[in-house]
Amino acid sequence: MIEAKNLNLYYGAFHALKDINLKVAEKSVTALIGPSGCGKSTFLRTFNRMNDLIPGVKIEGDIIVDDENIYQKGIDVDRLRKRVGMVFQKPNPFAKSIFENVAYGMRVNGISNEKVIKEAVEQSLKQSALWDEVKDSLKKSAYALSGGQQQRLCIARALAVEPTILLMDEPASALDPISTAKIEELIHELKKKYTILIVTHNMQQAARVSDFTAFFYMGSLIEYDLTKTIFTNPAKQQTQNYVTGRFG
């Protein structure tokens, strides 16, 4: 169960997120759409406190993850991030072998039993539909993979620490159509086990993969509803204009 309550975020003086209230349904895919610069990534990154890294960021309001306000004092951010996985826009594997990329998350979280790690790596690679392609070359550098494979590796890497929530920031925007289709298929599979938040600026993609859609505009959440409703019968004119491609 995740939720944003009266969320405001400032980059210095710039008001980037304005009074956002949003409840995300579990084990489903929620798409965040909106024109570039409207705050989708910023919003997504509040759920694993990735914005903490940027100097001058100020956050007001609550983000609730599993009945807990993650911005309250005494929260263990590392543990939070272990529960909330993230996939980035561009594939960003580490300069390590394929195996070690997936194993990394477990190692830094204190798992040292090689047998456990090996099983989990295999499991994660299978979940991300990469196992068959790489099972004979686990020792090879992750850079040897294609862009699409690298992105699936990054998904496997995120899954390996057993998160319950997956944040995806335009995970297919740097990929070719075939790889994109594979990722979308994968998202479809993953939502059986995970709560997924995905940023996309591709309207068809949002329509294809998501159950719910939130439309952002200039830092505000304009409309949030079932994807079907947003794309066929939105309540707001602004949303209508955006999904039909009249602006943005």
Binding site: P55, D78, G85, M86, F88, K96, V161
Partner: protein
């Protein structure tokens, strides 16, 4: 008209851009021309010869044997392959031991007289070895000139004695200088590296931006301070400190040189290492944090490996600088040309040798040429260092 003018300017700019290349080529030309002149020469000073009695079976000696004979370390011809007979060493001024002033009267004006006297001495003493001016060899001698092995590259590198001005034969063994250089430079990097890396990591990841903005110009300032000033500081502060701490006869030691060099190498190491740590793509850093890794785990397991080629480049560059650094080292290492056994003894590096001795060497002489040969070695070392760094950074760019 305008076109032609632009062409001329372009031509001029082109010529300017070739100056560095030309300079490198000129350096190679001039250094190697002088430096290689040393090899194939006889190590006796020009115009002098070593001669023995005609009946002496020995006709060839190497530089070290000659030196040992004249230093009275070898006293019997048997030791150098001759008869069992003690060696009688003869230098020009020994002539007075054989003749009285009166007998030598007129020698100043009549060189042939001196020559014949010397010839007489050599004839009378079958066990003699004489170091004499070539001019004083009589036309029809009863003596035999000893062939002394020519200076070659392997003796130059492996020779353990550096006596560039000793008589009758100079010795140009640079092994102690090479060892001195390596000891001092590598220890310097060993000292500088942990501190440099710690500071680089601190500045790149840990320090608040405000702190970093103060440290950055301070380090730039330190990299601009002349090496003599560091040398002076070393001489005034570090040398006495080491002498007291380790209770040494002299404080001017390899360690003093290493410490001063470490201080001097730090700004380079810090700057290059910090840059390469900061060059780790943000998204890779974020990916690690997003998996629940702590900031430290991310630095240690992701960012440092990512920056490792840059850090390697920093280290190699630092070693290159340290090997070539002259003045500071010259001032604090004590400059004894011996093979080092401990870091707490005086040492002498290649650049310090050049700086200390070039002024007193005769232009075009063997000593002068030997110092140029040392220059060639330094040049080659820095060339290798640069090409290595170049290769590393090229690889890094490809990996991006």
């Amino acid at each position: 008209m305008k076109k032609i003018f632009e062409r001329i300017v372009e031509g001029f700019l082109f010529l300017s851009s070739t100056v560095t290349t030309i300079t490198v080529l000129l350096i190679i030309l001039f250094l190697f021309r002088e430096g290689t002149g040393l090899f194939g020469k006889s190590p006796t000073e020009e115009g002098f010869t070593v001669a023995v009695n005609k009946n002496n079976p020995v006709s060839e000696l190497n530089a070290e044997q000659v030196k040992n004979i004249f230093d009275a370390n070898i006293e019997n011809w048997k030791q150098v392959g001759g008869k069992n007979d003690s060696i009688l060493v003869f230098r020009m001024d020994d002539i007075f031991k054989f003749y009285t002033e009166e007998e030598l009267a007129g020698v100043d004006t009549n060189m042939t007289l001196l020559a014949s006297k010397i010839d007489e001495v050599i004839q009378k003493n079958p066990n003699i070895i004489a170091f004499i001016s070539s001019k004083n060899l009589p036309a029809n001698p009863s003596s035999k000139i000893i062939t002394i092995a020519k200076i070659n590259l392997s003796d130059f590198f492996r020779g353990e004695e550096w006596f560039p001005t000793s008589q009758p034969v100079a010795e140009f063994g640079i092994y102690p200088l090479i060892m001195g250089t390596l000891w001092v430079s590598f220890l310097a990097i060993l000292i500088a590296l942990p501190f440099g890396l710690a500071m680089a990591i601190y500045m790149a990841e840990i320090a608040a931006p405000g702190v970093r903005n103060i440290l950055k110009p301070l380090i730039e300032l330190l990299s601009g301070i002349p090496s003599v000033v560091y040398g002076f500081f070393g001489l005034i502060v570090i040398v006495p400190l080491l002498q007291k701490t380790f209770d040494l006869p002299v404080g001017e030691t390899g360690l003093a040189g290493s410490i001063v060099l470490a201080i001097m190498a730090l700004p380079t190491i810090i700057t290059v290492a910090e840059d390469s740590i900061r060059n780790t793509p943000v998204s890779v850093k974020e990916a690690s944090l997003a998996l629940g890794a702590s900031h430290w785990q991310t630095i240690w397991r992701i960012m440092i490996p990512y920056a490792s080629s840059g850090i390697t480049a920093a280290v190699i560059l630092g070693i290159g600088r340290a090997i070539g650094e002259t003045m500071a080292v010259l001032m604090v290492t004590g400059n004894a040309a011996v093979i080092p056994h401990t870091i707490l003894q005086p040492m002498r590096t290649i650049p310090a040798t050049i700086a200390a001795e070039l002024g007193e060497s005769a232009k075009g002489g063997m000593h002068y040429q030997a110092l140029f040969a040392l220059g060639c070695i330094l040049f080659i070392i820095t060339l290798v260092v640069n090409l290595t760094v170049e290769m590393i950074s090229k690889k890094r760019k490809q990996n991006r």
